[in-house]
Amino acid sequence: MVENIRDDSSSVDVLAADLLRGHTDTIVLAMLRRDDSYGFEIFKRIRDATGGRHEIKEATLYATYRRLMKDGLIEAYWGDESQGGRRKYYRITDAGRAVYRRNMAAWALTRDLIDSLLEADRSPGPHDPAPGR
């Protein structure tokens, strides 16, 4: 049984990555909540926050920045680096913070619901059907 789970770990990873992909916007907003940042730093923060177990592809992130900017949830400005190309920094807007808070609340609710739904049989509630019925 333990061996089976280990064999399946790659497919579990794929499933987790699929679930995470739906939250890319919120994850990027979360990374920008503290301070402004640029592409590679955001990429690194996401990678480090998961302990290197997961990363969001850079191409996906570029698309995400464009979409968030179009919706007015983040703003961009160029840094003043002189070496190796100027960095494009992103800043979260008030609208972005509000959307982040709303998505967080929705996620917390979803997580609790799924937890209780998937573990319903493990922790029998007060309405446990009587045996033999």
Binding site: Y38, K44, A59, Y62, A63, R66, G72, G85, R87, D94
Partner: protein, 299 residues
């Protein structure tokens, strides 16, 4: 393993050359140039990280480019076709919350009571100084509280403002109104000290509100942002047609020269009672001209 790509400039040059190669054959638009420059800085940072991890310059550059993936998919992803799920504005309607309405009514009543006290003081004059000060402070506090509370609310078009920022706006309004109250007491003959004490908070309020205004970010909802974009696309005849903008400028100057000249002449001949009509006429012509020139009917 040999590294054929190490040039004189080393890895620092490699990455720029590889980026140019990746973008070779891509038709460049300003947006794509922008994306390329953004990618460039990120690649340089990634190469620095890989080099610090022990990879040689050329290998680090190639690895970074490989990780980037295909440029075309990246460009396609960054330029989505764009048609967002369109729900009608009335479906997104956000009604004010009852407790907010109640708070606003109560606070407004308190502020109105303060104003009534000041009006009484001006009309009758037997309100003690302490009463006037208390009334002024009540008006300032309620105005600030209503401002902050309103900014904290979600509306149909706006997201709620973060608490600290809304509170800062509230404080700015309190300072401004309190400062005006000091000026009021000076006008009522309560000494120069009130004027000086009033100017300081007004200056502080101007500073604070200017800072807040300058650092303000978007707080409109997505559909408002998109609607503004589409409106901008409709009304930009002047950017499409600079000649129309120049004509508009000349017409404006002529219109107001005539209107002001008419005003002066009528004032000297007929008198104040009728001369203002010249300015009204100027305004009417101006508005008609804006309507005519900015919004040209589509052929």
């Amino acid at each position: 393993m040999t590294i054929p790509n190490d040039t004189v400039g080393g890895s620092g040059m490699d990455i720029h050359r590889l980026l140019d190669e990746a973008f070779a054959g891509v038709e460049m638009t300003p947006e794509r140039q922008d994306l390329k420059e953004e990618v460039r800085a990120n690649l340089v940072a990634r190469v620095a990280e890989l080099s610090a991890g022990g990879l040689s310059g050329g290998a680090a550059a190639r690895r970074a480019i490989e990780e980037l993936g295909d440029v075309h998919t990246m460009i396609d992803g960054a330029e989505p076709a764009g048609a967002a799920a369109a729900t009608a504005p009335w479906q997104r309607r956000v009604r004010p919350r009852p407790d907010f309405v109640l708070r606003t009514v109560v606070l407004s009543a308190a502020g109105a009571a303060g104003l009534a006290v000041l009006a009484l003081a001006a009309a009758v004059g037997d309100v003690p100084l302490g009463g006037e000060i208390a009334a002024g402070l009540a008006i300032a506090a309620t105005a600030g509280a209503v401002t902050a509370d309103t900014l904290r609310q979600e509306t149909t078009g706006n997201h709620p403002m973060p608490a600290e920022r809304a509170a800062a706006y509230g404080i700015g309004v309190v300072l401004a109104v309190a400062g005006l109250g000091g000026g009021w007491l000076y006008l009522r003959g309560d000494g120069l000290g009130w004027l000086i004490g009033g100017v300081a908070p007004v200056l502080a309020a101007v500073g604070l509100l200017s800072y807040l205004g300058a650092t303000q970010t978007n707080r409109h909802k997505e559909w408002v942002v998109r609607m503004n974009e589409s409106h901008a696309a409709v009304g930009d005849r002047f950017t499409e047609d600079p000649a129309a903008a120049a004509r508009f400028g000349v017409y404006t100057v002529v219109t107001w020269l005539v209107a002001v000249a008419g005003f002066v002449v009528l004032t000297l001949t007929v008198g104040w009672a009728w001369s203002w009509l010249a300015l009204v006429a100027g305004m009417v012509v101006m508005m008609l001209m804006i309507a005519r020139m900015m919004f040209v009917p589509r052929p």
